[in-house]
């Protein structure tokens, strides 16, 4: 059985399990909407301010709502000792990690797909002017977040304080990715095309994604096998 078909098997399993129970994704949607609401009280959403803060606002919504999904990632394997069965199976740790990370990416992007129209409506912002570049930036930023979140979920799966530790570890590590995504998103939501001013942030984002994906793939097997 090839690496990619095993990855696909894990991906489908995670998606099927989550979509059947919908626990994490419902909580995530609700939380995203709540944060969008709360921000409208924190700032005066005039058009000028909103355009400036749009990048930051959106990504804060994504990372806080997304954490609910990432937290479950390896934790869902704990009941019934399913994680043991996966480790015992002839499945490379990297395939397990990649399958889960891709499932998380799908779920997170589903939440983001809802957040954008809601954001556009609540704050009266036309965010579709640079749609495809924006989609690319959101995908890259979400992948960075997913890789870190999934990896640290694996790292903390057997620890007592897992739920507390995960946000504490993920958010500081993600700061470069988050900054790049925020800068690029604010730029694109404002309708400006990707020009040389902001390309440096694109490079940071891609660099971050590449470095942490490689690091995670290398370390995950060792982290999971006691």
């Amino acid at each position: 059985m090839s690496f990619w078909s095993q990855t696909a098997t894990i991906l489908m399993k995670d998606l099927r399990a989550e979509l059947r129970s919908k626990e994490a994704i419902n909580a995530s949607f609700s939380f995203a909407l709540v944060i969008l609401l709360l921000f409208s009280f924190a700032f005066d959403p005039s058009e000028e301010t909103t355009r400036e803060i749009s990048g930051g606002l959106l990504w804060i919504v994504f990372v806080f709502a997304g954490a609910l999904i990432l937290n479950r990632s390896f934790a869902r394997e704990l009941p019934n000792d399913c994680l043991d069965a996966l480790i015992a199976a002839p499945l490379p740790g990297s395939a397990l990690f990649l399958g889960k990370a891709l499932a998380n990416l799908a779920l997170l992007m589903a939440v983001e797909a809802v957040c954008f129209p809601v954001f556009g409506i609540f704050y009266n912002v036309n965010w579709t002017r640079q749609f495809w570049p924006l989609l690319l930036v959101v995908a890259l930023g979400t992948w960075g977040f997913t890789v870190i979140g999934t990896m640290f979920s694996a790292l903390t799966v057997n620890i007592r304080l897992r739920e507390v530790m995960l946000p504490l570890l993920v958010y500081p590590t993600m700061i470069p990715c988050l900054m790049s995504a925020m800068k690029l998103s604010a730029h694109l939501v404002g309708g400006e095309p990707l020009d040389s001013d902001v390309m440096v942030w694109m490079k940071f984002l891609i660099g971050f994604d590449v470095i942490y994906t490689c690091l995670s793939l290398m370390l995950v097997e060792m982290v999971l096998v006691g």
């Binding site: 500081p172 590590t173 470069p176 900054m179 790049s180 942030w201 940071f204 470095i211 690091l215 982290v223």
Partner: protein
């Protein structure tokens, strides 16, 4: 043997501090723009360098643990990281004091300060993680893996925040007598770091011994 080393280093550090303070306070002239306050720089800058050195050492011992599985590397790693965080705090505090006096504000979100703060959060997270795992082998492995992620982040954080904004004084050339004072103080801080690490190491090893004895007692109960 280690005790003797610590006492010896302690004496050297004490002497060096006295010498350095004398040079910094009495011998060197006031700086043109900043007056007397600039002297805090002689503690501020070497603190960062010392913290950086300690963090590199910490990453190195984490790699060593992951390759060899010897618990002593984990013990060294946590001791070194804790001391690094202490020096990060010294750097932040001295910087904040300087900023309050020279710029009139306690804090600003410029490149270096923000990066430093992120490092404090990252390695503070490492220490909380390390403390939160009861089983020693698991603790060592997970902390070491996280340490590598944190260490990989340090240069990325540094470069990306530099693009974000900069208000921090840029590196400047110093007259030779100031450089010399800076380097002497750095040496002193490195020795101080070593003493702290040895102290912490001793505490951590005692903790390991107690843990081992406790397991032995439980096994025979």
């Amino acid at each position: 043997m280690r005790e003797k080393l610590m006492y010896f280093l302690g004496a050297v550090v004490a002497i060096l501090f006295v010498r350095n303070l004398y040079v910094i306070l009495n011998v060197l002239p006031d700086e043109a723009n900043q007056g007397a306050m600039y002297r805090i720089m002689f503690f501020h800058i070497p603190s960062w360098w010392t913290a950086g050195l300690a963090l590199m050492l910490s990453a190195g011992t984490s790699v060593a643990y992951l390759r060899t599985g010897k618990l002593k590397y984990d013990t060294i790693s946590v001791s070194v990281t804790e001391v690094a965080v202490v020096f990060l705090f010294i750097g932040l505090t001295t910087g904040m004091i300087w900023a309050r006096i020279i710029w009139g504000i306690w804090w600003t979100w410029d490149a270096r300060l923000t990066s430093a703060f992120v490092c404090v959060l990252l390695y503070g997270g490492y220490l909380i993680l390390h403390n939160g795992i009861a089983e020693p082998t698991q603790r060592a492995k997970i902390s070491a893996a996280f340490n590598l992620f944190a260490f990989a982040d340090v240069p990325i954080v540094w470069y990306s925040i530099r693009f974000w904004r900069t208000q921090h004084p840029q590196p400047m050339t110093l007259p030779p007598d100031m450089w010399s004072a800076l380097l002497w103080n750095w040496l002193t801080l490195i020795l101080l770091m070593t003493i702290f690490i040895l102290l912490r190491l001793r505490q951590e090893e005692a903790r390991r011994d107690i843990d081992g004895l406790r397991r032995l007692v439980h096994a025979h109960a």
